[in-house]
């Protein structure tokens, strides 16, 4: 599949390189088009805005990130269709500006955040995380965002808050997948409060240094790297602190297949397929899946004493 072309054998002739004036001209053209027809806002599937300063993080993986092309074209986002290429194809009408996120529930200062305020809420970090899908494939994604804890601290959670519920966008006009009752819309997810406050748990607003595209969960999504990918709720509209374990979309759909915790666990198979190995996108052979997706040192203690076969 990967055909390596020897660069030395085909040197790039200076004549093939686009002169600066030309590509600047193209950019001006795009900018003009953007101003005229708001093209950039209309089609978030293809245009991404650069993010500002981004700090590196010691929590990042040193593994090679998956190609951007794969990260933005191979997605599970059922609100835009159940095929892997559906989200990139069908997200064209989805609007991520204006956007607000309501953060409330058991907290002292419930608040509604506008997306542009969220972008400035905390220093943006690059977090290069493994992402393991429950279907048996994985990627390494350089997310840009900040710890979820940074946001939750702003609303001052009460001591009675034991869980966090995430509700995602469900706009029938721009999300064609909602027409099918595949899941109980809107898609909901949940974390225990200690999972939510864990430094590895982030709100991602971008990847590869650019704002998220719709297919990746724009304008902001949850990323919990030691759990199966579906726990990372996309296009969040509401974050609520509760004292009860929230219902989650996949658990409602198939409780015997998708538990509330859904920690990556090679020992506990999906009832219909093995979770012992995974195919890293871009690789030919499969690799062994690691407990907690390789983050056991950071998070295994959160589940001390729990039977992970029961709490899958």
């Amino acid at each position: 599949m990967l055909i390596r072309i020897n660069q030395d054998a085909h040197p790039i002739a200076p004549s093939e390189i686009t002169p600066e004036s030309l590509y600047r001209g193209r950019r001006n053209f795009i900018r003009a088009a953007g101003l005229g027809a708001a093209a950039l806002a209309v089609s978030p599937a293809f245009a991404a805005a650069k993010l500002g300063a981004i700090q590196k993080s010691p929590l990042s993986s040193t593994e090679a990130p998956t190609a951007l092309k794969s990260v933005i074209s191979y997605n599970n986002f059922y609100e835009f269709g159940t095929g892997k290429e559906d989200p990139a194809r069908n997200a064209g009408r989805f609007k991520t500006r204006p956007w607000t996120v309501r953060v409330d529930g058991l907290c002292a200062k419930p608040r509604t955040f506008a997306i542009d305020d969220l972008l400035k809420l905390a220093p943006l970090e690059e977090r290069i995380y493994r992402m393991r899908c429950v279907e048996g494939w994985s990627m390494v994604i350089p997310w840009n965002g900040f710890p979820l804890a940074s946001l939750l601290k702003q609303v001052e959670p009460l001591g009675s808050a034991k869980f966090v519920e995430f509700v995602t966008a469900a706009d029938r006009a721009t999300m064609p997948g909602l027409a099918l009752p595949v899941l109980d819309w809107p898609y909901t997810e949940g974390l225990r409060i200690d999972e939510a406050m864990h430094p590895l748990t982030i709100l991602a607003l971008g990847l590869y240094g650019e704002e998220l595209l719709a297919q990746n969960g724009a304008p902001l999504r949850l990323v919990v790297p030691w759990k199966y990918g579906f726990k990372g709720a996309k296009s969040l509209v509401s974050i609520r602190l509760t004292d009860k374990q929230p219902a989650t979309a996949w658990n409602i759909a198939a409780p015997n297949e998708y538990g509330f915790y859904s920690n990556v666990n090679p020992e506990v198979d999906h009832p219909r397929w093995s979770q012992a190995s995974e195919r890293r996108i871009g690789e030919f052979t499969k690799r062994k899946t690691l407990p907690f997706n390789g983050y056991a040192d950071h998070v295994a203690r959160l589940y001390a004493g729990m039977d992970l076969r029961k709490f899958y």
């Binding site: 599949m1 159940t82 279907e135 219909r272 397929w273």
Partner: protein, 235 residues
Amino acid sequence: MRAAAPTAPPPGRRPPHGPSALQLAAAKSALFLICLLPLGWYLNRLLNDQLGANPIEAITRASGEWTLRLLLVTLAITPLRRLTGWHWLIRLRRMLGLFVFFYASLHLATYLWLDQFFDWAAIGKDILKRPFITVGFAAYLLLVPLALSSHNAVIRWLGGRRWQALHRSIYAIAVLGVVHFWWLVKRDITEPLIYALILAALLGARAWWREQERRRQLAPRRPPAGKTVIPIVPR
């Protein structure tokens, strides 16, 4: 999987309105090439890196889907023949059936090689433990004797009746194939449902015609109206 009836028409005569030997040969050649189109399409995309981020999944999926599609086409021959009266269609069925086997073999090979990398212990466990793999594998095993007996010499050796009885397992294979697809999808059953409905229509048509035939044979033979029939009563 089924071939033409072993009893060939006498030389020199052919059924009325049927295609000539030459036309039939042309139809078979065309069908052969058509059946290879999916393979060519996916090979071309594979070599040009156009199968998306997970080409192995795309190949697995495509080979499975084309197995099912061609299987449904094979099963459509009999109803089509009945509805159109084009009895020569049956002469194309063996090739279709063999292509079902061809794509099923590619599908299985993809699983054995690109998914499991010939880890036989894991494969054995998968077959026993994962219902969708169990039924898929069973369907393939049932296909093997049908492919092996798709040859005139084997049909002569088996005898038409036994050959036909053997090849009736294609109905079970088709059901297993659709169940295999149904059980593997995560949530959205639209596609397997479409295959299931087509299969139900194809099998349902057969059941209905069979029932009609049974009733016709059971019904008392009424004399044509307007004619007096003198019953023959034994004295």
